[in-house]
């Protein structure tokens, strides 16, 4: 049994230690917001936060997250109120939407450490998240919008 924290709840999982966190979340915990895209950390669809840092869950084994704090898209906010989610809704970023959980988790992790990112910062942080629908222009706009929302919340 592996103990970890997922979205602020202590979780005890009985799965083979080499099971990627992605499949533990999806198949064992029924949290399917985190997506499978490539299985090789190439596309970012499976991005979650491990102790706050954006991490590809498809190549991270269950044994490697023992004792860690995992946040998934389901735990980013209870009501789509995270600034990144609000900005995503405002700009209608998603198309097919499949990659967007990962995009949002990468963007949220970026803003947590860089509250005022440049375009170059955004490019660097988001380069690992593929979007076949091509929502990149809107993602960039939405991240800038999320920055505004966060800043105005601090006024």
């Amino acid at each position: 049994m592996t103990l970890m924290t997922v979205n602020d709840r202590a979780i005890d999982v009985d799965a083979a230690p080499d099971t990627p966190l992605l499949w533990v979340l999806r198949d064992h915990l029924a949290m399917t917001g985190t997506k499978y895209g490539c299985g090789m950390a190439l596309c970012g669809a499976c991005t979650v936060h491990i102790d706050g840092a954006a991490t590809r869950s498809c190549v991270l084994t269950l044994s490697a997250v023992a004792g860690k704090r995992v946040t998934t898209i389901e735990g980013l906010s209870a009501d789509r109120s995270h600034a990144v989610q609000r900005a995503w809704i405002e700009l209608d970023v998603p198309q097919c939407g499949y990659c967007q959980s990962g995009q949002i988790m990468s963007a949220a992790a970026l803003l947590a450490i860089k509250p005022d990112p440049s375009d170059a910062d955004i490019d660097a942080a988001m380069a690992g998240n593929l979007c076949r629908c091509g929502t990149y222009p809107r993602i960039r706009q939405a991240i800038h919008r999320a920055v505004q929302l966060l800043m105005s919340g601090r006024e």
Binding site: V6, T34, E74, C96, Y98, D123, A127, Y136
Partner: protein
């Protein structure tokens, strides 16, 4: 009989969400029911699958009791609590149909659009897309197909509600009007739609309803937010991969690495003994491993020892495919379209232009790998699948299950990208067979590698152009001979049209030329090919628009002027080109930048693009794409803009890197490290200009893909004098 649900899957009860609790998606459980049932099902009551199943039995059998919604037509339910549900009969794969189609209905219904709920249509005759000849989401025609139909459905429903209110008040319908989901009369009284819906549904459908004129639109042409966005930002949107059923098992599949091969012998002893594995079974084309969890199934699949019967493709490679097309191109081909006598003009010309353009195979690479969940019962099967072809999915599942098609309920989930890959049903039978064999619901998932190496690839195409200019440098003759394998012959064997969809775009060739020829030689290559976003348009547009620039150079004319001259009688076309030139700074590029132009008419829409490129360390860089679109009346301009951006990104990936490599019958590109797609940090600036119009709406989902590659290659020629006649650019060392 079904066995009890599979052993609880590991997480402690206190911590794990119930297997079925994550479902917060807006496109709700009512969509889980099959044809005939769904329309009778109350939306507010769709809380659980067992209840839904218990309600089965036909119209009126819904579990909702007094809250049962009235069905005003095949696309609309109104419940006594005033909730309004629109049944969308096209698959949502990012293109916005779950927003645009309800907007059409809502425009005439006079309701607050943001309150509308959506459910996916079951298989049904009402949901056939006339232009596509089936319940098919494809060819960018969802809005054009629905344009009159759904506005009429909304107007009919409004008329019925007015009639029902008038009858209650015992006044003439003319004294009533619809506004904000209420029918009001001239004495200031009103009923909500919910109060009228049951009575309205009993009235005969009005035959002739008057639709609004464009000046009366309050919704069409505006950009309300997409109805599917909320679930796509909190993880609750349900794609096929996310379907959860009680007792569900997971399956992985092994397929022959050589396309078209099959297992000769299978040693599954090691796999069978692995933890969690329930069954290994052979299915047509592969071997399926069913386990309690997908990771277990995947590991066990990789432990299978299979000797493959490679079939005829064991020695096939790209050079052989190319040779097949080259050789076949020597035959004259079937004439698809002709004006004047291009052959004679070209033959007798003192000077002629000849060029061959070549396009590679491409993979769809949807972000969501193929998957299907099947739940087989004694005499029926429920299918949960992201599909563009509900009827074909139903038929494929029925054949695998050995039940009549009517006994297969197709539940369409959201699609994590379609691009034509989900027009195919090759991934469905294995899931059904596994569910039937095990007696449990089974979710079969293809890995990325399965998906990439067993696609129905965009066909490789050879396009040979011959052309002649007159003595004033105007196009006198232009002819194109396309050599390609056929998509349609496999996809629809009943189709006897000898001209495949791979020539479609050139049939709309927009330029005025007195001698025009289009011919087609079909040459199969041993690999099945399929429809990929902008099917013929991308390859054809590459050849047409590259040749136009080459001919403009031969005529010593500006490529813009050369095209405008050939579109003299088409002001709408000229406007799009002229706008693109104006917005892109055509004729006056920045010092280190170079511009290239491409134009296309397709999907009843017009598009012009200007690519602005530069060079960095000898490598080509695309800095900006300016894109002007005239697609007639826009339903939701913000979605149109998104789709244009999307098409440009799709076109960029293909132009820069897209290509499938076959070696010994095996596709070498297996994942995103070898099949490269554009990333955020590689995204050029994109400026989309949408031309206002009240012409009938045209398609937009595939429109912007085609012009990208020729615009870039035309810019490359302007910059360097180097003409690239085959893609991708990476194969030329340019990127």
């Amino acid at each position: 009989m079904k066995a009890p649900a599979a052993t609880p899957l590991a997480a402690t009860p206190s911590a794990a969400a119930p297997a079925d609790a994550g479902r917060r998606d807006f496109c709700g459980r009512a969509s889980r029911l099959g044809a005939g049932l769904m329309l009778a099902m109350a939306v507010p009551a769709f809380g659980g699958r067992p209840a839904a199943r218990a309600s089965g039995g036909g119209p009126g059998a819904g579990a909702a009791g007094t809250a049962a919604p009235a069905e005003l037509n095949a696309w609309l339910q109104i419940a006594p609590d005033d909730s309004i549900t629109v049944i969308v009969d096209r698959s949502e794969m990012g293109q916005g149909v779950y927003t645009a189609l309800p907007m059409l209905l809502a425009e005439e219904l006079e309701v607050d659009f943001t309150t509308i709920r959506i459910i996916a249509a079951p298989v049904g005759d009402a949901y056939v897309n006339v232009g596509n000849g089936g319940q098919i989401t494809g060819t960018s025609n969802s809005v054009t197909d629905a344009w009159v139909r759904l506005r009429t459905a909304g107007a009919q429903a409004r008329t019925l509600l007015i009639a029902a209110a008038a009858a209650k008040w015992r006044i003439a319908p003319e004294r009533c009007r619809a506004q904000r989901a209420r029918i009001e009369n001239d004495r200031g009284l009103s009923f909500s739609y919910g109060q009228l819906a049951l009575a309205a549904a009993k009235l005969p459908l009005p035959k002739d309803v008057k639709l609004k004129s464009p000046s009366q639109y309050t919704l069409i042409g505006t950009s309300p937010r997409r109805l599917d966005t909320p679930g796509k930002v909190d993880g609750s949107a349900e794609f096929g991969l996310d379907v959860k059923l009680p007792g569900m098992l997971y399956a992985a599949i092994a397929q022959c690495p050589v396309l078209g091969g099959r297992p000769r012998s299978v040693d599954s002893r090691t796999a069978q003994a692995m933890h969690g594995v329930r069954r290994v079974l052979e299915v047509p084309g592969g071997v399926v491993v069913v386990a309690e969890h997908f990771w277990q199934a995947l590991k066990a699949r990789d432990a299978l020892e299979i000797v493959w019967e490679e079939g005829a493709n064991g020695t096939l490679d790209n050079a052989a495919i190319r040779a097949l097309l080259d050789h076949a191109s020597a035959t004259a081909g079937l004439v698809a379209k002709q004006a004047g006598d291009p052959g004679a003009v070209i033959k007798s010309a003192a000077k002629k232009f000849s060029a061959v353009y070549e396009l590679p195979m491409l993979a769809h690479a949807t972000m969501e790998p193929l998957n299907c969940t099947a739940d087989f019962h004694a005499d029926r099967c429920d299918l949960y699948v992201g599909t563009q072809v509900q009827q074909l999915a139903q038929t494929a599942a029925a054949e695998a299950a050995g039940v009549p098609a009517a006994r297969v309920n197709v539940v369409t989930t959201l699609l994590g990208g379609g691009f034509g890959r989900r027009l195919e049903v090759d991934f469905i039978p294995a899931a059904v067979l596994a569910s039937k064999a095990l007696g449990f619901p089974v979710k079969l998932i293809w890995t990325r590698e399965d998906d990439m190496t067993h696609d129905y690839y965009r066909p490789p195409v050879r396009e040979a152009i011959d052309a002649v200019l007159d003595d004033r440098g105007k196009l006198l003759a232009w002819q194109l001979h396309i050599t390609s394998p056929s998509i349609t012959a496999r996809f629809d064997p009943t189709n006897k049209d000898p001209f495949d969809s791979v020539i479609e775009y050139v049939q709309n060739y927009p330029y005025e030329v007195p001698n025009f020829g289009l011919s087609f030689t079909r040459r199969e290559i041993g690999i099945d090919v399929g429809y990929l976003r902008s099917v013929s348009h991308a390859p054809n547009c590459f050849a047409v628009e590259s040749s136009l620039d080459e001919l403009a150079t031969a005529a010593a004319k500006n490529p813009l002027d050369f095209r405008l001259e050939l579109l003299a009688a088409k002001p709408r076309h000229r406007n799009v080109l002229e706008l693109a030139a104006e917005r892109s700074g055509w004729g006056r590029p920045r010092s280190d930048r170079h511009l290239g132009l491409a134009f296309m008419e397709g999907y009843t829409s017009l598009v012009a693009q200007v690519a602005e490129i530069g060079f960095n360390g000898g490598k080509l860089q695309v800095h900006k794409i300016t894109c002007v679109v005239d697609c007639g009346q826009m339903v939701n301009p913000r979605i149109v803009e998104s789709q244009i951006e999307s098409g440009i990104v799709f076109g960029l990936s293909a132009a820069l890197w897209g290509g499938i490599t076959v070696v010994a019958g095996r596709v070498q590109e297996t994942n995103f490290n070898s099949y490269r797609l554009l990333r955020a940090n590689e995204m050029p600036e994109v400026e989309v200009v949408l031309v206002p119009s009240d012409a009938p709406p045209g398609g937009i989902g595939e429109l912007a893909v085609g012009p990208v590659a020729p615009a870039i290659c035309n810019a490359l020629f302007t910059a360097t004098g180097r003409r690239v006649r085959s893609l991708p650019l990476s194969a030329h060392g340019l990127v």
